[in-house]
Symmetry: C2
Subunit: 325 residues, 2 copies
């Protein structure tokens, strides 16, 4: 059944109903939604729903609302980050312009709410609870993006602050994806909250895996330039922990690479990676990632569902931790 989720989501994206005119407003939405991606969030939502009920096809539009919301955040974040590329293609503000990317993003957010508005099987209380959770999570994602921007102009960021930032920017939405599956399946509150906690832990592990792959990914498979975060001095989990761990010559060397504006890119990537290796940052990050996923796996075990349902969910989650891209 799990294999049917992704095609169903892609089919719904191809049917996606929005306006048509002005084309400047709606073309960018179609463009971004069809750039692909793993569709992790709606798949997790359908998977979560399927733990309790079999008629998952009827909640595909609701699941898609999270993917539309996620793509809305990408469209606006790319403006703020002045990112030229998204999934190897020109970002919307590059292909069109900033104003169009602002306004198309706004319509996407509205469109996400309209997809969410297609779950006629819930009672009013459950639907309002779903919306309250969606709204709170949406605000948190914006809070995470603002924290991320604030970090850029700061010299020091603690691991705790960094984890809180990625929790808000990434994990809460993955948590909501799982929780929404439960709410749509009309589980009790304790269960939907447990599903949220599973998704939130998965999301934290998932984001740290992103940080790790940016340094240690296989260049043949990774799709982006390996070492991009190092070049940009991005305050990732790896760099923050390296600064917290390094002493003496290691600290001086790391500080020097970060402060040298004229560094040759490949030299800098090699040197900082070598420092990470000496400081045990790779192993430490892998341990941290595994801890988040183990936490999620244990929480899955406590759910009151059949064993084979748990296996399917664990299998999908394992794919997120073992991924190479």
């Amino acid at each position: 059944m799990t294999n049917a989720f992704l095609p169903a989501i892609e089919a719904e994206i191809n049917r996606q109903q929005m306006g048509t005119a002005p084309s400047e407003l709606y073309d960018p939405i179609r463009y971004l939604m069809r750039l692909g991606g793993k569709r992790i969030r709606p798949v997790l939502c359908l998977m979560s729903y399927s733990l309790f009920k079999s008629d998952w096809e009827k909640v595909v539009p609701s699941a898609l609302s999270i993917e539309i919301f996620h793509n809305f955040t990408l469209m606006h974040d790319d403006i703020m980050d002045k990112a030229p590329l998204r999934r190897g293609k020109a970002t919307v503000h590059e292909k069109w312009n900033d104003n169009i990317a602002i306004l198309s993003g706004d319509v996407m957010l509205v469109n996400a709410y309209q997809y969410l508005n297609q779950c006629a099987h819930l009672n009013l209380q459950a639907y309002q609870h779903l919306l309250t959770r969606f709204n709170r999570t949406a605000a948190e994602v914006c809070e995470g993006q603002q924290m991320d921007m604030n970090f850029e102009s700061r010299t020091e960021v603690s691991v705790e602050e960094y984890i809180e930032m990625i929790r808000l920017k990434t994990s809460v939405l993955i948590g909501l994806s799982m929780e929404m599956g439960g709410i749509l399946a009309e589980t009790d509150l304790a269960t939907s909250q447990a599903l949220y906690a599973i998704g939130e832990a998965v999301g934290l592990g998932f984001q740290l895996k992103d940080d790790l792959l940016d340094v240690y990914g296989d260049p043949a498979k990774f799709g982006k330039q390996v070492g991009g975060d190092i070049l940009a001095n991005k305050k990732t989990y790896l760099l923050i922990r390296a600064f917290e761990t390094a002493t003496g010559d290691h600290l001086a060397e790391l500080t020097d690479w970060v402060q040298r504006p004229d560094a040759i890119p490949q030299d800098k990537i090699q040197a900082v990676t070598a420092l990470y290796n000496k400081l045990g940052i790779r192993e430490e990050t892998e341990t941290k990632i595994n801890a988040y996923f183990e936490h999620a796996f244990r929480a899955v075990e406590t759910l009151n569902i059949a064993t084979e349902k748990k296996s399917a969910l664990r299998h999908f989650m394992a794919g997120l931790v073992d991924r190479e891209v």
Copy 2:
């Protein structure tokens, strides 16, 4: 009763619940919401609700959702228009920066939905209808803004296109304000649609009045620079009709003023205003405004409500057409 609406709305704005951190995200929302304004949309919503039911206090949060949405559009439009001032104060992107204005605006839109989510008295079908209408209108407002931006780079815009643009950018939301009052009061569909039509007509007249005041407003009362639209060659109803009406020397003179980049501001304002006068543009615009309001007044008469309710609504609408600011 009508006099109680505005204080109730202002009190709700002062209580407005949002997050607190990061402050860069939430301070701009409080700043913009408290710059003032006539609060026409939520007042119309409460007025519309009160035509049918007396317990209007309970729908103040729902009414506020429209004002929050309206302010969200102002925050994002001001970025796109590179506007330095809003209600005589620095715009959010000027006081903070573009990125903060994008992201704060996004949270405002989410916040609008959360205020809309406080009408627990509706049944699910009515609530989903309300959301569908809100979503459609929100998308239309964005369509109107995109049309407006498209017009800037075009040499010719017809009156029909202009009216459609202001209908989308301004009138549909005023229509929704009235319609929402009906939906919240659980009127039948025909009635809520009639309320929408009244609001839409009022909105068209209201926007044309804005165009008119920009040229013919009393400088002592207007608050903005009279003639600002003329200086910016803004394709308002007045300029479009002037170009459609003018012939011979008048057309040559109008074209000349519009194309002269080094014109002395006061000379240009005086000359174009004089041309408007010769061409009868002021009277024509006033006739058009009155026609929209007359249409709305007649529609009010057909509502199945008590005579004194109609009077209160007409009185408020008359204030919108007679206003000098």
